[in-house]
């Protein structure tokens, strides 16, 4: 009771703080001696994956969500940044509402109620305040990621009682009240509540519970567990020592894998697998199962490098070690059997490509080559663009308007057999050549892989030349491309920038450049160990200090290593 009261007071206080922060903006911009060096707070909509993870963490893995999510939006290369900018439409709300009810009805059904509800009502056909209180406050704390205020708890208890009366069923009432919680703004949006920062007289910081959420969504891609919330309640997260203790615990937890997975799903745009389809007539091996396995194969390859082996991050572009299923074996043309230790069948088998095999690194894997191809064939242009955008965080300008495709059509008409021959037309049109010469040669190296990622040496009867070039480095095949990306400094800056943007839920502001620089230096010093980078980010003030709420575009950092258009134009004319 008293704990809840404190919580409530704090919330009200925080409201006032936000107003104060807004007022201060005007004030402080005039003052020379005080520099605003913290970014704004953000409110994130839960991503589909976070929703799933929370339901699994709180209620267990056998709860079926039975619904579809409102699409997430990718901004500045990341869904994690888009999450700070999206809202929920009426049709989307309908889906959240249905999903919340589906989850809640399973939680209170005959199979789960004893374990998940815990207490038993005096009568199963009537409201029971005591049991409802016990359940709703316990679950509410985990879903709201902070204790419910008295007012909130009362509202849910009243709802449970009313609903139990109407339906004549305690559990139905409780379930409907829980469903309401799952549709509430405090659950669906990760709010950041700020308070004055005692260490920085005019600054602000996240309150303890917001710190807990900031940490857990970054490291685990899920809500804080009970232990982290307790640490928040005890004020530990506002001390350096307490924060370090929790970060250490979280980094050691197996749930770190969820956080790393979430980063790479986002970074590699693997959410797009949901709409990936290949023509069965052209690519009969590329079944839905093969697509799902291909996605998982790349995830496992990456996790093996960055977590299991804690190796140099850049090895994801060169490693020959991977994992395959029998389904994938048929695409990769290697036999895979379901052998496991002690004779237990295991779908996933470790596999290492030979040194002279054209496969090496994630760019040569089926997931990457198939995802960045149209449904009926491969595309050096799409793949090259994807390498620039995903692996190097570079922006490729959109194609120019009003282009005549005559040259292009002619080359197609005159029997060009390979993509290289077809795309040669790009070089003849100056406005096309500028961009295509920095994307097509990257993609040519992957031409040994068809639209569904299967190895080939000929296209339309003509043999394929997989040589190419990336930023002045030439190579003879896909392996050379992987090595060129490995050696490209942009690959390092890219992962540092995206990882920090993911943690912040926004692009870093100008004043945070120094921080990015030191993150990058330390990352290099560590031999590009991703867990070390994540730990340093998790311990950074930038995640917890809050500046005035403003989104002045002038204060946003341009994307790193952006390819400057003028450079392209001069390249085109030469």
């Amino acid at each position: 009771m008293s704990g809840a009261m404190v919580g409530r007071k704090r919330l009200i206080g925080a409201g006032a703080v936000v107003v104060a922060a807004t007022a201060l903006t005007f004030f402080m911009t005039d003052s020379e001696d005080h520099k605003i060096n913290s970014g704004p707070s953000v409110t994130r909509r839960l991503t589909a994956e976070q929703y799933r993870n929370i339901v699994q963490d709180v209620f267990g893995g056998d709860i079926d969500l039975g619904g579809r999510f409102e699409p997430d939006m990718r901004v500045d290369g990341l869904l994690a940044v888009g999450a700070s900018q999206v809202s929920i439409t009426a049709a989307g709300m309908e889906q959240y509402d249905a999903m919340g009810r589906a989850v809640a009805s399973q939680v209170v059904d005959q199979n789960h109620r004893d374990m998940l509800v815990g207490c038993k009502p005096a009568s199963p056909t009537a409201p029971d305040e005591k049991c409802a209180h016990e359940f709703l406050s316990k679950v509410g704390r985990l879903l709201y990621r902070r204790p419910l205020t008295d007012q909130q708890l009362n509202a849910y208890m009243t709802a449970a009682s009313e609903a139990a009366r109407i339906t004549g069923d305690f559990y139905q009432g409780l379930g409907l009240s829980l469903a309401g919680m799952l549709s509430s703004p405090a659950f669906l949006f990760v709010e950041q509540i700020v308070e004055p920062d005692p260490e920085n007289k005019r600054g602000f910081r996240l309150d303890s519970y917001s710190v807990a959420s900031q940490l857990s969504f970054f490291l685990w891609n899920s809500a804080p567990d009970s232990m982290l919330l307790s640490a928040a309640a005890a004020g530990e997260l506002q001390t350096r020592q307490g924060l370090e203790r929790q970060v250490k615990r979280m980094m050691a937890s197996p749930r770190l894998e969820e956080g790393v997975r979430a980063f790479f799903v986002d970074q590699l745009r693997f959410d797009e697998f949901e709409v990936l389809a290949k023509d069965a007539a052209l690519f009969p091996k590329f079944s839905a199962q093969a697509a799902a396995d291909a996605r998982e194969q790349t995830m496992r390859t990456v996790l093996d490098v960055v977590l299991t082996r804690n190796a140099d991050y850049r090895e994801i572009f060169t490693t020959r070690k991977t994992f395959l299923t029998p389904e994938l074996g048929s695409i990769y043309q290697v036999p895979i059997f379901k052998d496991g230790p002690n004779g237990s069948p295991d779908d996933w088998q470790p596999y290492e490509f030979a040194a002279d095999d054209p496969r090496g690194g994630i760019l040569t894997q089926v997931a990457f080559t198939a995802l960045h191809s149209p449904a009926g064939r491969g595309s050096p242009t799409l793949r090259g663009k994807a390498v620039r955008e995903i692996a190097l965080c570079q922006t490729v300008p959109p194609p120019p308007a009003d282009v005549s495709f005559t040259e292009f059509e002619d080359s197609t008409a005159h029997g060009a057999a390979t993509a290289r021959e077809r795309l040669a037309a790009h070089a003849t049109v100056p406005s096309c050549a500028g961009c295509h010469k920095i994307i097509d040669p990257i993609g040519f190296a992957l031409e040994n892989f068809d639209g569904a990622g299967e190895f080939r040496t000929v296209e339309n009867g003509a043999s394929i030349d997989p040589s190419g070039e990336l930023d002045g480095i030439t190579y003879g095949d896909a392996g050379g491309l992987g090595q060129a990306v490995y050696n490209n400094p942009a690959a390092v800056a890219c992962v540092v920038d995206r990882m920090s943007a993911r943690a912040l839920g926004r692009l870093p502001i100008k004043d945070e450049r120094k921080w990015l620089k030191s993150l990058k230096a330390d990352f290099e010093k560590s031999g590009h160990r991703l867990p070390a980078l994540m730990q340093e980010i998790a311990l950074s003030d930038a995640l917890y200090r809050v500046g005035p709420p403003k989104a002045d575009p002038a204060n946003r950092l341009p994307p790193t290593e952006e390819i400057v258009t003028t450079e392209l134009l001069s390249g085109a004319s030469s």
């Binding site: 936000v18 579809r68 989307g92 009243t158 308007a401």
Partner: protein
């Protein structure tokens, strides 16, 4: 006029005695007072708005009618729309203006067509279907229904502040959404409010009461997003309110046969099949008073014939112009397929009779595309169509030329006749305050 009733008082009253039939006076206090919902009692059936977005345009010289005004003859690529010619307006000559922004091919045109402007970051304007839904869609169970004819989940329907309506690619799922267990037959004699729905309604009230607290806690930028959330929540509450009332009888409402087909339209055969299923479902949904706004995204840049190596979009750039025909042959096959699909859709709405008219008679469909000529990504001389008079609000059967004008003139006209209180629409060069008076009835 009866004494105004508070929503929650009524609800609490109802909670006191479950499973009782609720008498009709309910309608008077819950519904707006202009009475259009009581269509079956003799009034006019409410107007319906639909958008149809087809990427990749037409071929120059093959779509525009040769003559202006009434009695135009359809050109080759619109021939299949002949049965509807008297109900179609063709608007030619308009442009999308970029105002110095780079042309994002197949994106910029969509944005200007739907939102009247190019978005600045995610701070985008709402699409016109949502402003229309706010004007005419508030009293149906679904404010709008978004359909992705060729798969995918994102619709072109978006509200201010980056909230994009999700699209439904599966006919079976849309069937369940509309005619599943939560559907109340407006013509059933008995009406018993569902206790589950009553309970849900009461729970949602608890959430809406969190509004004030939340709004005080977040910063100004996030306030708009949460405001959108609460508007959406309110929409669910309204849906439940609707389910708790005996619906106004809809004489023409028939429940369609259950649809099991769940596969999205990933090739032409699937698109053709799903189009028929979706069109039928929408006709039933409209006739049963479930929605008054729909958005069909034909999209289909990636549309292929089964086994076809190249998709429609690739073909627009790679297929040579057939020297004999003077146009790209395979591309034109797709264009004609798309127009045929649209004609099939209209036919289905028109075949569903309501009283002396059809569902199509009270509907206004706006057809737009991303480029005038996809092969070279042109942004001028855009083909735009309106179909249907929307209950006599538009004149029809006209070819209107508005050379050099912003395309937004059409969007403005459509929004105005649908009752959106707007004097102008669009931004920068795409802003206009001149509706197409030629077609306003």
């Amino acid at each position: 006029m009866s004494k105004p009733l508070n929503r929650r008082t009524v609800l609490r009253g109802m909670l006191g005695g479950t499973a009782v039939s609720v008498a009709l006076p309910f309608l008077d206090c819950f519904l707006n007072t202009n009475g259009t919902a009581l269509a079956a009692t003799g009034g006019e059936l409410p107007v319906v708005f639909g958008s149809w977005f087809q990427n990749l345009g037409f071929n120059p010289g093959r779509w525009k009618p040769a003559t202006l005004g009434a009695n135009y003859q359809n050109n080759a690529e619109m021939k299949v729309l002949d049965p509807f010619r008297d109900r179609i307006n063709v608007i030619s000559g308009t442009k999308y203006f970029l105002d110095g922004r780079p042309l994002e091919t197949h994106v910029s045109g969509v944005q200007i067509a739907t939102m009247g402007s190019l978005p600045l970051g995610v701070d985008s304007d709402p699409s016109l279907d949502t402003t229309i839904a706010d004007a005419i869609g508030n009293r149906t169970r679904f404010k709008s229904i978004e359909i992705a004819l060729s798969g995918g989940r994102q619709s072109l329907s978006r509200r201010k502040g980056g909230a994009i309506n999700p699209s439904e690619p599966s006919p079976a799922a849309l069937y369940t959404r509309i005619f599943g267990p939560e559907f109340n037959d407006p013509n059933s004699a008995e009406f018993t409010p569902d206790p589950q729905v009553m309970a849900r309604r009461s729970v949602l009230s608890a959430i809406s009461e969190e509004r004030k607290g939340v709004m005080n806690r977040v910063g100004a930028a996030d306030r708009a997003r949460l405001d959108e959330y609460f508007t959406s929540l309110r929409q669910i509450e309204q849906q439940l309110d609707m389910e708790l009332q005996k619906p106004a009888p809809m004489a023409a409402c028939r429940i369609p046969e259950k649809i099991e087909q769940a596969d999205p339209g990933r090739n032409v055969a699937a698109v053709e099949r799903n189009n028929k299923l979706f069109a039928g479902l929408l006709a039933h949904a409209i006739a049963c008073g479930q929605t008054r706004v729909f958005n069909m995204n034909f999209g289909t840049q990636g549309l292929r014939t089964p086994g076809g190596v190249r998709d429609w979009h690739s073909l627009t750039h790679e297929e040579p112009i057939d020297p004999k025909l003077g146009y790209q042959k395979d591309v034109t096959w797709f264009i004609e397929f798309a127009t045929r699909t649209f004609a099939e859709f209209l036919t289905t709405l028109d075949r569903y009779k309501e009283g002396s008219g059809s569902v199509l008679d009270r509907t206004l469909v706006l057809w737009q595309t991303d480029h005038g000529y996809a092969r070279t990504h042109t942004m001028d001389d855009l083909p735009i169509l309106t179909v249907g008079s929307g209950n006599g609000r538009l004149k029809t059967g006209l070819h209107v030329v508005a050379t050099g004008d912003p395309s937004t003139r059409v969007g403005l006209t459509v929004q105005q006749v649908m009752g959106v209180p707007l004097n102008s629409w669009g931004r920068l060069s795409n802003e206009t305050s001149k509706p197409l008076t030629d077609i306003i009835a």
